[in-house]
Amino acid sequence: MTDWFQVVVFVALIWATAPVLGRHLHQVFDDQPQPLFDPWLIPVENGVLRFIGERGRPAEQAWDYLRPLLLSNLLFGLVALAFLLFQPPWLNPQGLPAVRWDTALHTAISFLTNTDQQHYTPEQSLSDLSQLGALQFLFFTSAATGLAVGFAFIRGLCGRPLGNFNTDLIRAITRVLIPLSFVFALVLLVNGAPMTLAGPITLKTLEGADQILVRGPVAGFEAIKQLGENGGGFFGANSAHPFENPNPFTNLLAMVAMFAIPAATIDAFGRFLGNRRQATLLLLLVTVLFLALAALAISSEQGGNPLLAAWLSGPNLEGKEVRFGAGLTALFATITTGSMTGAVNGAMDSLMPLGGLVPLFNLFLQVIFGGQGTGVAYLLVFLILTVFLTGLMVGRTPELFGRKVEKGEIVWSSLILLIHPLFVLVPAAITLSYAPTLSGISNPGSHGISQVVYEYASAAANNGSGFEGLGDGTLWWNLSTIVSLLGGRYLPIVALLLLAAAFARKPKVPPGPGTLATDTGLFTVVTGVVILILGALTFFPVLALGPIAEAFSLVNAR
């Protein structure tokens, strides 16, 4: 019962924060005055802009926005890669050596793409300098890149110029990510997340064993990890680790942090569009989808594992912390995969089959709140596709927000639709073809399929969580997921911005009674159905062979 109440409270918090934060985001990206921030941030921002020689001219074409984006992302990645490859002795209390090249490359790209898959054990691999200078740096820049893309896309759909990438990036960091993370980090700190550069402590446990406690600048790292929907843990156990997520309260905050910005971005979209009802309906849609998935995940974990009925009863607690229990772990799993964060507070691999289906499903859809900035963009792409499919049925060539949806929009939208299965299913099929050598599957049967598919889905969706039993620290896994990481990040970004720029240039058609209204309950329901059908139909076979087959096998066992 308390599990369900937590869900309700969580959703209420998201709905309460969305308008507040949404207003803030709208002000930031619409360049409106913010008396609270302007006096001390404008000098900083202007200083940075002057230093880099940016005059802030808005992009005239999509490539004017994309070029600096791609170039700076390349450099961000190279900086991080350098730290990992060389791992100097500074801030390196354990004296850790350089990271293996393929792992370093995979890690740099994984964090650069806001994914944060970790094919290494952080405690044993990364110095504090690498954690801060490579990973935390990318936490900020990748999240800011996502936000910039999201708002450039929103501007385009609302018929405005895309904006200026460097300005967007800097303002996202100075006005959104740093202030919010700072507050969140302080709360985490007070609750027990360490914030120190001191090295690990070796101690004798009460029973006399040697235990090594790794500490570090965790609180700051953790805050931007969640808020930026990054998800890469300071520790191997990620948010299950007590230093990252000390108690249920920090857990609640972490969950709110993961959904806060995507939900607020949807709200801010409504403000940009001048139609908040549209945004509220979209928020309602993803909330309802989220609730359905959360309910499935929580109830399947609460149901427990019938194979173990001889020895125990109650919910499935394998891979879960006592302080969170089955309910909060299942809820967290739904949120972290819905929002493309990828932080986990329990083992995804050990979830019940349907509990594991939920995160996988989230990764396939990518819109149940979705990634930083990109979530709302994908949601709007589905809106475009829905308008196109159903809009014809009112007898007009389809239009969205007063602009015609034509070949160009459909090309880019459906390209985004195509990219995902391409970068998930194809590598998964290759890996499973050579399963004994390549896959590193640790759980037998259908579960192995879920492990492999999950890893690529997580990479292509830029989520970063994993069915971590998978032996993924290999050359094959590092290199093959890099393809999915890059393909799943930058191809959609290019497509999104090209779409937005072309859309903005179209003449505006005034709405009339013959116009298909997209801000109605009916249309929102239809959008939901289209998301489920177009987003999930492709993946239905692997879902069937993976988690669904595993679930049936449990039913039979019972």
């Binding site: 196109f388 499919l389 159903t390 014809l392 049925m393 009112v394 007898g395 007009r396 060539t397 389809p398 007063g402 949806v405 034509e406 070949k407 459909i410 090309v411 459906s414 390209l415 639709l417 195509l418 299965p421 391409l422 299913l425 194809v426 998964a428 099929a429 499973l432 073809s433 399963a435 049967g445 259908s446 192995g448 399929i449 598919v453 003449p507 505006k508 058609v509 005034p510 009339g512 009674p513 013959g514 116009t515 298909l516 209204a517 009916l522 239809v526 159905v529 059908i533 177009l534 139909l537 492709t538 239905f540 076979p541 692997v542 069937a544 062979l545 669904i548 087959a549 049936f552 039913v555």
Partner: protein, 718 residues
């Protein structure tokens, strides 16, 4: 010299509009047979490859055929489906292809039949070309060039499109209009001087200047259009094709990656079954019917006796948000009739009637004739010497005003065109009737005064929705003629429908603002432009377009041509000038301006049909998954997904495929006729169509596949 047979036009929709709508063209014999033949011809991969969805089915058919010849070609496992199953599957896939081809061929065939009939009128004729020295030479009609002059006598075919330079003749235009009554053609008149190649002179003789090179004439264009030779995909069709192609690729990825995944848990995936799964998932229904829907849309427009120059134009009709309509002939019956004489300035009714009678004596327009008739009814026959008088052309209808001869009238310059006519008597008396302000101007120019009660009479007529015509005898205004406008029955309902569809109607009229307002209110149009000149038309269209609206209009005169070209959908009347027809993107052979409303409906119907079948097609996938996946992966533990309780894996696969094939011919009538369209708001339409085609698309295949499965297992096919 003459053609042997009179041209046959396969359909001649006539009579009242509501009856005409259902006039089915007599289906020419062999249409079905030809379509069947064409369905096989279209199996040619070079043709199939243009349709990505059907091309995938085509490739799949090859695979299953190969597996029929040698079942062990793709798999060695003994559980692989046998030859019988593969053969059945191949047949079903082949049928799917043929059904799709048949739909397209059927749609094309109807156009072809029409084109053939037109082509018969094109039989090469001889023409008498005028040489510079004035002599004539017999040349083949194909040798004629733009600018040549030809002489065409009674019984001869007009060799090419042209303009009458000299002569008056009756011309039978039934070949293109279906209207058997001959039309009078004469030089100098804007409308009546244009002739169309392939029509026949039935009396007298015409001297014609050719205006179109061979192969570029009106009939040539019509043939190319109805035949589909120039059929390019419309923008919306292209966008939809892109989406369908991408969906096909997505499902191709989903299916192609399945074998290694299934192999991992030791579940076999026979290639033929994968082909079946792929074909079931890709949107074959809409893929197979898409081009048929487009052709049928053009065809439906043609059934209304309208020739569209492109599918794009028909599609644009669905998007129209503003209709610009002429009042006269469209909203009101073409002929206004004189209803009453309203004397002013102390003149008697009889006095006024007598002057009106004289002023209208030379006016051949229906209005003028009605004035004469009304005056005669009042016994106010003129005692004037009409045989010595000079007639001045009437110009109450704005577009006629161009023919006025101001210098002959000797009036001072008006800013607007002189909207009046009259009679100059031999004794120098000038009798005029016309627009009130025009007459006022005339009177003032002659030093006369305007009676105080003129405005009162003017307003009274205007408020009744009538057209007031002032009448003067020299500088003395005697009164006002009340010309009554009669709004066509049912117009109000039509405009209400349009409004519900989100279409604004703007009425253009030469009437004064009060009259126009009354008529607009009575007819239920949303807006009107009073005292409009031809230039106003284009201004109205541009203003609407600046607001982002899409505008449709009708027109026939040469001065309408710029506006027709400016409008997003311009419908020229076939009775109109060559220039108007060139500028428009549709030509109405019946010259019925109200037809615009029907064309809009057809455009919408076309789009709705496309959307409905796409939705239906994609929604079908859910049921097909639940039929094929449990059949394919029963061993892997997915048997419980067999929600429909299908008899056996093989029968499940076959049933899904049979359903997939049969749904195409089942939907052909819908694709060709278009879904039923009732004017309603977007929301109402969406709700209704979603329920029908979205929900229907989810549910119908579950029922259909189950029924087919019952039949398949009862027949012991597998």
């Amino acid at each position: 010299m003459t053609t042997l047979q009179p041209p046959i036009f396969p359909r001649m929709p006539r009579g009242r509009r509501d009856q005409r709508r259902y006039t089915e063209r007599p289906r020419s014999d062999g249409l079905l047979g030809r379509a069947v033949l064409q369905s096989f011809v279209k199996l040619d991969p070079r043709l199939t490859v243009r349709n990505p969805v059907m091309f995938v089915v085509w490739c799949g058919t090859l695979v299953t055929l190969a597996a029929t010849v040698e079942p062990r070609l793709f798999e060695l496992s003994p559980e692989a489906p046998g030859r019988g199953f593969n053969a059945l599957l191949s047949l079903i896939l082949l049928a799917t292809l043929l059904f799709a081809n048949f739909a397209e061929a059927l749609a094309e065939g109807r156009g072809k039949a029409q084109a053939d009939a037109l082509r018969r009128t094109q039989a090469s004729t001889q023409a008498r070309r005028l040489l510079p020295d004035g002599s004539e030479a017999l040349v083949d009609s194909s040798a004629l060039r733009r600018g040549d002059q030809v002489r065409v006598s009674q019984g001869e075919m007009i060799p090419a499109d042209g303009e009458v330079v000299d002569g008056v003749a009756a011309v039978d235009e039934s070949a293109i209009t279906g209207e058997s009554a001959p039309v009078l053609k004469e030089a100098g008149s804007d409308v009546a001087s244009s002739v169309t190649g392939g029509t026949r002179v039935v009396s007298d003789m015409l001297l014609i200047r050719i205006t179109a090179d061979p192969g570029k004439g009106f009939i040539d264009r019509m043939i190319a259009l109805v035949e589909g030779a120039e059929r390019t995909k419309t923008p919306n069709e292209i966008a939809l094709t892109v989406l369908l192609a991408v969906l096909t690729q997505v499902f191709l990825i989903a299916v192609a990656t399945l074998p290694p995944v299934a192999a991992y848990i030791n579940s076999p995936t026979p290639v033929v079954v994968l082909v079946a799964l792929l074909v079931a998932l890709i949107p074959t229904t809409i893929g197979g019917l898409l081009s048929a829907i487009g052709i049928a849309g053009m065809d439906r427009v043609a059934q209304f006796n309208v020739i569209a120059t492109s599918g794009r134009a028909v599609e644009a009709c669905g998007d129209i948000t503003t209709l610009v309509l002429d009042k006269t002939g469209t909203i009101t019956l073409g002929n206004r009739l004189a209803e009453e004489f309203l004397p002013v300035g102390g003149h008697s009714e009889r006095e006024l009637a007598t002057t009106a009678h004289a002023a209208s004596w030379f006016d051949g327009t229906p209005e003028g004739k009605s004035i004469v008739r009304l005056a005669e009814k009042l016994d106010a026959v003129t005692a004037l010497q009409m045989d010595t008088a000079t007639g001045l052309e009437f110009s109450a209808r704005t577009r006629m005003s161009a023919q006025l001869l101001p210098e002959l009238l000797g009036v001072q310059e008006f800013s607007a065109r002189t909207r009046m006519s009259g009679t100059d008597l031999a004794d120098g008396n000038e009798l005029r009737k016309g627009a009130v302000d025009a007459i006022k101007g005339f009177v003032r120019s002659r030093g006369g005064t305007v009676p105080d009660d003129l405005d009162e009479a003017y307003e009274r007529v205007s408020r009744l929705g009538g057209t007031p015509l002032a009448v003067c005898w020299n500088a003395e205004i005697q009164g006002v003629i009340y010309l009554k406008d009669i709004i066509k029955p049912g117009m109000r309902e039509r405009f209400d429908q349009l409004r519900r569809m989100g279409i604004r109607s703007v009425m253009l009229t030469g009437d004064n603002a009060i009259t126009a307002g009354v008529i607009a209110r009575e007819a239920g149009v949303d807006d009107f432009i009073a005292e409009a000149t031809p230039e106003d038309k284009i201004a109205v269209i541009q203003a609407e377009q600046r607001l982002g609206r899409l505008v449709a209009m009708t027109g026939d005169g040469t001065n309408d041509a710029p506006a027709l070209a400016q409008a997003n959908v311009g419908v020229a009347m076939n009775s109109g000038t060559q220039a108007a027809k060139e500028a428009a993107n549709m030509v109405d052979l019946d010259s019925d301006p109200t037809k615009l409303i029907d064309i809009v409906t057809i455009g919408k119907q076309l789009l709705i049909t496309r959307g409905a079948l796409t939705t239906f097609s994609i929604a079908n996938d859910v049921a097909k998954y639940f039929a094929i996946l449990p059949a394919l992966f029963g061993q892997a533990g997915l048997a419980p997904l067999n929600l429909m309780g299908l008899a056996s894996p093989q029968s499940a696969i076959l049933s899904a495929m049979v359903f997939n094939a049969l749904i195409i011919p089942a939907l052909v009538p819908l694709a060709l006729k278009g879904v039923a369209f009732r004017p309603a708001t977007a929301d109402e339409l969406l709700r209704r169509n979603l329920l029908l085609y979205g929900l229907g698309g989810l549910v119908v295949p579950f029922i259909g596949i189950k029924l087919i499965d019952l039949a398949v297992s009862a027949l012991r096919l597998v």
